[in-house]
């Protein structure tokens, strides 16, 4: 028996629907069809009336979720691709994200965003939206990198009383497999040491954790022991775990698939420099996608986003500083 990242997401939703009558799923093609990626496969028949196909109306999808949340429901919204959440952006950042602060009424919504690049997907089916949403007060932004986290963090997302932007990486959907679903897990808000090391720390999240682990492996024969921190959530950031790792290694490289400007990697570096300047033996570095839309052609795409090779090269440079 093995379970993929995608199946874990399906299972978590089945679990949530089973356990909590307040949960329902809303999104394009999520019903009988089971969603564009099959993340809601069979859920419509297992839970009649609770998995609803929406019109192609992202703004209204999000507005409806806010209304239902006010009434005590726990909507799970699937955006067909993270990129299309921009059409529902107003409702997410101005309605869902401000409700609790303005009225003391919580807004428990889980917005599932299939995100990130896959070869040949081009500028409108590849975007990373995590740092955009993290910028707004009132949202929690999760970026699971493993099958186990995809499952446990999605369950936790549904239980959280606030709007959660759940970033599920499309590249990991089928690639990533685990033996079984987890019975316990780190809570949301805690980062994880994905690999221990003494010479430098790479902080990454989502698909980039796997590229970072590859890079760390590549550097082992050269005598370097690289520690990899899987952030797990981009908001909140577990600054303590990052700081403790940098305290051990003295060197920091942050890797993100999103664009760099004002991004999660910038945020981590800002925190480490302001709070832990003395821990650093070299200037902290970061590696992000290039500052252009995500290109279609695989040759361009491979050069646009950080890969294990590019991470290893950046790490070597930092190790020599």
């Amino acid at each position: 028996m093995s379970v993929t990242y995608l199946e874990a997401i399906r299972e978590a939703q089945a679990h949530a629907l089973r356990d909590d009558p307040r949960v329902f799923i809303y999104g394009q093609d999520v019903g009988a069809f089971g969603g564009a990626f099959k993340a809601t496969k069979n859920l419509a028949s297992e839970f009649p009336g609770r998995v609803l196909d929406s019109p192609i109306s992202e703004d209204a999808i999000m507005g409806l979720a806010v209304g239902a949340a006010i009434e005590g429901m726990r909507p799970i919204v699937e955006m067909q691709f993270a990129d299309f959440s921009t059409v529902g952006f107003n409702q997410i950042v101005n309605q869902a994200a401000t409700l609790f602060w303005r009225t003391n009424v919580p807004c428990p919504i889980t917005v599932r965003l299939p995100f990130g690049g896959t070869s040949g997907s081009g500028p409108f089916h590849s975007q990373c939206m995590e740092t955009v949403y993290a910028h707004y007060p009132g949202l929690i932004v999760l970026t699971p990198a493993t099958v186990e986290d995809a499952y446990s963090m999605l369950l936790e997302a549904v239980a959280i009383d606030d709007p959660v932007i759940f970033c599920e990486h499309k590249f990991l959907y089928y690639h990533l497999k685990a033996e079984r679903l987890p019975s316990e897990a780190l809570p949301v808000g805690k980062a994880r040491i994905a690999r221990e090391g003494r010479d430098m720390t790479i902080v990454a999240y989502s698909a980039m954790v796997h590229e970072a682990l590859e890079a760390a492996k590549e550097l082992t024969p050269e005598g370097w022991e690289v520690e990899v921190v899987d952030l797990r959530s981009v908001k909140p950031i577990d600054t303590d775990t990052v700081m403790a790792s940098v305290a051990r290694t003295g060197r920091l490289l942050c890797v993100g698939e999103a664009w760099s400007w004002g991004g999660a990697t910038a945020e981590i570096i800002a925190r480490v420099v302001t709070e832990g300047y003395g821990l650093l033996d070299a200037p902290p570095q970061r590696l992000n996608a290039k500052d252009t839309p995500v290109p279609y052609h695989p040759n361009l795409w491979a050069a646009h986003r950080p890969t294990a090779r590019a991470i290893a090269a950046a790490a070597r440079k930092l190790l020599r500083l």
């Binding site: 069809f33 646009h304 590019a310």
Partner: protein
């Protein structure tokens, strides 16, 4: 041009209609066989990402393309191979975008159906549905500012995309500004897997138009003659300065949403109903019935078109792919305002 064609009676008009019909049919055939070729290339792993066909929608799309002329604006969508070709796109440029040639209009930066030449009035769609309509409005308004008269803009849209806010905002906008917009809805009964019953509750999509003060026409999207007349009239109407029009074409998507999709969800009864007719066959029957072509001519055209496609694809396959080292990674035109800072440039593979 077409408005005269639509008034039968004179021999001249009849001849003109025949000529337009034949031209449109030729684009339908070209689009169908080109789509088939892309599907085959995709199955053999030569195309990255998705392939989206216009099978069953060629009559409507070709009618749109042939109704426009140079200087007009066209914002096609995913099922518009025929209309794109009729509007002047070459088979080569279509293939270059699917195959990611560096020599194509999108230079490998964007792919498949996301292609166009904005300065030539051929708009490159973004994926976000409904987003192109107001852009057409903007071009038409700019024409007004620039005192360019007599141009028309057409935007294509699907039944599903009529649920976007963008659709409603743009239709209202065109009506308020009385822009020469023709908004063509291909109601192919499904938006991916979602049937129209889960998309809207109005009896007929045409009912949406009066609320915005927009004229509307409904047409059988499987019938090329009907499409030529309906779109031709809407275009003539807009060209004459009489404001926007919505055209609702009823038809059926005769393929998956993309080639990855077996479309098992399509109601079999729809497939055998009149809207499930294959518009290409319907057009061929019409050609034969009118004695505008016989079986031999049709076969000759088919082999000519096949040859044209094979030649173009073979050439494009020899063209260079984009080179990440030569690529200029810059997203703004103001070179002097580009970010010069890069902490750790991703090293091209």
């Amino acid at each position: 041009m077409l408005q005269t064609v639509l008034e039968p009676g004179t021999a001249e008009n009849a001849a003109l209609f025949r000529e337009t019909y034949l031209a449109a049919y030729r684009f339908m055939l070209l689009a169908r066989l080109l789509d088939d070729k892309f599907a085959a290339l995709w199955r053999s792993g030569r195309i990255h990402g998705g392939v989206f066909l216009g099978r069953g929608q060629e009559a409507l799309s070709a009618a749109t393309g042939v109704s426009l002329k140079k200087g007009d604006v066209f914002a096609p969508l995913i099922r518009d191979a025929a209309g794109r070709l009729a509007f002047g796109e070459t088979v080569r440029d279509a293939a270059r975008t699917y195959l990611g040639s560096a020599l194509g209009p999108m230079r490998g930066r964007d792919g498949n159906v996301h292609r166009g030449k904005p300065r030539e009035g051929y708009l490159p769609m973004i994926s976000h549905l409904g987003a192109m309509i107001s852009v057409v409005n903007g071009i038409l308004l700019a024409h007004r500012f620039k005192k360019i008269s007599g141009t028309v803009g057409v935007a294509s849209i699907g039944d599903g995309a009529t649920s976007t806010g963008a659709f409603h905002e743009a239709l209202n906008q065109a009506a308020v500004e009385k822009l020469p917009l023709v908004l063509v809805v291909a109601d192919n009964q499904y938006a991916y897997s979602t049937p129209t019953a889960r998309q809207f509750a109005c009896r007929d999509l045409a009912d949406k138009a009066p609320g915005y003060g927009v004229e509307v026409d409904s047409v059988d999207g499987t019938d090329l003659s009907a499409c030529l007349k309906s779109i031709g009239q809407a275009v003539a109407h807009a060209r004459a300065g009489r404001g926007p029009r919505l055209v609702i074409a009823t038809l059926l998507r005769l393929c998956g949403h993309g080639e990855h999709d077996d479309a098992g969800y399509i109601d079999p009864q729809l497939k055998t109903s009149p809207i499930g007719r294959d518009c290409l066959k319907v057009a061929e029957e019409h050609l034969v019935r009118q004695k505008w072509a016989d079986a031999t001519t049709l076969a000759t055209w088919r082999s000519e078109v096949t040859h044209e496609i094979e030649e173009a694809i073979a050439q494009v396959q020899r063209e260079p792919a984009p080179d990440p080292f030569a690529e200029e990674w810059r997203a703004i035109s103001s070179r002097h305002l580009s970010e010069t800072h890069a902490d750790n440039e991703v090293d091209p593979a």
